[in-house]
């Protein structure tokens, strides 16, 4: 954009102390995390410990992101996006830079995590994503610019986290920001009206992107057939075929519908996928084959234990525990 050249906020050096004009909080810059169109994100030290600080030039666009972050931070019972702390102005050399402070997410990019830890994580992390999306949608929002670049995996147990909520749009309006490969409008498979199915299309494209890291362009016509063909020619994607097709053609109205079908699929797929792991890694093969003998019995014991557990919980529930 025209304003990319005037992004002077892109060079705040190590050790610089950013002090807010309004709230007087101080943040000491440790390193640059990344550069966006609207500003630059830094890791900084503060009274709250490590935080991420986004320094921009344009007050309106920074305020717009803050609006979304504030809304998301309000949602109870689910963590959507980085936690929002505050917004302020930093005055330096007679120039005013708006900035905001958010939780620092110490995570690993989605695909690098999957590459390191194994393909089986793809499905599991997508289950997490779909659950979070269902909460976001219930709150009346659509993520919009959903793509691997905006997803990090953090902590143990690994949890999918969202970055860059700049595209988050109120349901019923037009999606604010998107990336072509993940945008159903680009593929000619739907509008850019913010509705849950918009995000579910992007989710399907994230799964497809996992199998085609370089991505690909749209064909002249008949995108649907083209995408289905891509799915069928990938061993990673084939098991997901039915679900992907439904998501790509807008058949899911709710994230939970897609999640439930994915969950069922992963359950069915589970014995097969352990077999696949055996062939891919020698180390696990040894462990696995030792286990196979006892496999059936362990399974059976597990089932009994699980059943007992459910029964206990159910009894507690009937008794009215926790009311």
């Amino acid at each position: 954009m025209t304003d990319s050249s005037k992004n002077q906020a892109a060079n705040v050096s190590y050790g610089t102390k950013i002090r807010g004009k309004w709230n007087n909080e101080c943040y000491q810059i440790e390193k640059r995390l990344g550069n966006g169109a609207l500003g630059t994100v830094y890791l900084a030290n503060s009274r709250k410990g490590h935080v991420a600080v986004k320094v921009g030039n344009d007050t309106m666009s920074i305020s717009s992101e803050v609006n979304v972050l504030k809304q998301l931070s309000k949602v109870q019972g689910s963590v959507l996006g980085p936690f929002f702390y505050e917004m302020d102005d930093w005055e330096v050399n007679g120039k005013r830079h708006p900035f905001y402070v958010m939780e620092y997410i110490h995570g690993e990019p989605l695909f690098s995590f999957i590459q390191r830890r194994g393909k089986e994580w793809l499905g599991i992390l997508m289950l997490q994503l779909l659950r979070d999306l269902s909460v976001l949608h219930r709150e009346g929002w659509v993520f919009g610019d959903l793509k691997p670049d905006n997803l990090l995996v953090e902590g143990a147990p690994p949890k999918m986290r969202w970055l860059d909520v700049g595209g988050t749009t109120v349901i019923g309006r037009s999606v604010k920001e998107f990336t072509e490969f993940f945008d159903r409008g680009y593929w000619g498979l739907g509008s850019r009206v913010a509705e849950p199915s918009y995000d579910l299309f992007s989710t399907a494209m994230i799964i497809i992107n996992a199998a085609y890291p370089k991505r690909f362009d749209r064909p002249k016509e008949n995108s649907e057939a083209y995408l289905m063909n891509k799915i069928d020619s990938s061993s990673i994607l084939k098991p997901y075929r039915t679900i992907l097709r439904k998501a790509l053609t807008g058949k899911y109205q709710h994230a939970l519908d897609m999640r439930n079908e994915l969950f069922t699929l992963l359950q069915e797929d589970n014995p097969k996928s352990t077999a696949r792991v055996k062939t891919t890694s020698r180390v696990t093969t040894r462990k696995q084959s030792k286990k196979t003998k006892n496999h059936k019995r362990t399974r059976w014991v597990e089932t009994v234990l699980l059943f007992a557990l459910i029964l206990t919980i159910y009894t507690l529930y009937l008794v009215g525990y926790g009311f």
Binding site: T2, N67, E86, M87, S174, E180, G185, Y186, R192
Partner: protein
């Protein structure tokens, strides 16, 4: 609040004008009429950018946005520039409103951070719900010829974005140079861009680039539309009303 209409001119070109009025002056004139002129410069990979300065100056004096882009990124850029331009125009109006409330030397930056969110919401709201008129000027000079299919895609893509808004849209399309005249109207005001496929193959390109006359024609077209609508409707930007 009753909302007015946003009027945007979108100029898609790849270089310098070489015929007729100075396009920078025409852009300034358009601005006086309450239109915004945005310019997208379409480049070839590795192409030099002779027209850069002119592209920038047209947008500057037209109160709009400019962006240079390689042909393959055109779709994304056209819708983004249009969106940004709308936001910018609305912000300009809001800015004026703010000054009448806060005092003439006050800006949004003078509001405490917590209050700014509300201003942003108003801008978002208007961008989503205001009616929009876009007049598109396409440079069809010889060097643009093989980029035209991409331009067509980009315009269809733009219509997907705009039709996802709540507000109404109208488009009009002009090419320059035209086959017989400097500037030729390809499509009169219409709410749908879908017939664009029928128009595009008919384009034939010539050697001159009358960018200034094209902008002048755009201003006339807007004026005609406005007078056709007559005095019945007030064209003011925002009007107080009962609610």
């Amino acid at each position: 609040m009753k909302k007015g209409t946003l009027r945007q001119i979108l100029l898609i070109t790849d270089g310098c004008s070489n015929q007729g009025e100075d396009p920078v002056a025409m852009a300034a004139l358009a601005r006086e009429y309450g239109m915004t002129v945005n310019v997208i410069g379409v480049l070839e990979e590795n192409e030099r950018t002779d027209g850069l300065k002119e592209i920038e100056n047209i947008a500057l004096s037209g109160g709009g946005i400019h962006q240079l882009v390689y042909a393959r990124q055109l779709s994304h850029t056209v819708q983004m520039v249009t969106r940004k331009a709308m936001t910018q125009t609305i912000q300009g109006f809001i800015h004026k409103e703010l000054q009448t409330i806060l005092g003439s030397d006050k800006e949004i930056e003078d509001l405490p951070p917590e209050k700014r969110g509300q201003v942003v919401e108003v801008v978002d709201d208007l961008g989503e719900t205001m009616d929009l008129e876009v007049l598109i000027l396409i440079d069809t000079s010889a060097s643009m010829q093989h980029k035209l299919p991409t331009v067509e895609d980009a315009l269809l893509d733009l219509s997907i974005s705009l039709h996802s808004r709540i507000g109404q849209n109208e488009y009009s399309l002009y090419a320059f140079p035209g086959r017989k005249k400097q500037v030729e109207r390809l499509m009169d005001w219409t709410p749908q861009m879908k017939d664009i496929h029928k128009i595009f193959p008919k384009l034939s390109s010539g050697g001159v680039t009358p960018t200034g006359p094209a902008l002048k024609e755009a201003i006339d077209a807007y004026q005609k539309k406005r007078s056709k609508r007559g005095m019945l409707e007030d064209d003011g930007f925002i009007e107080e009303s009962g609610s």
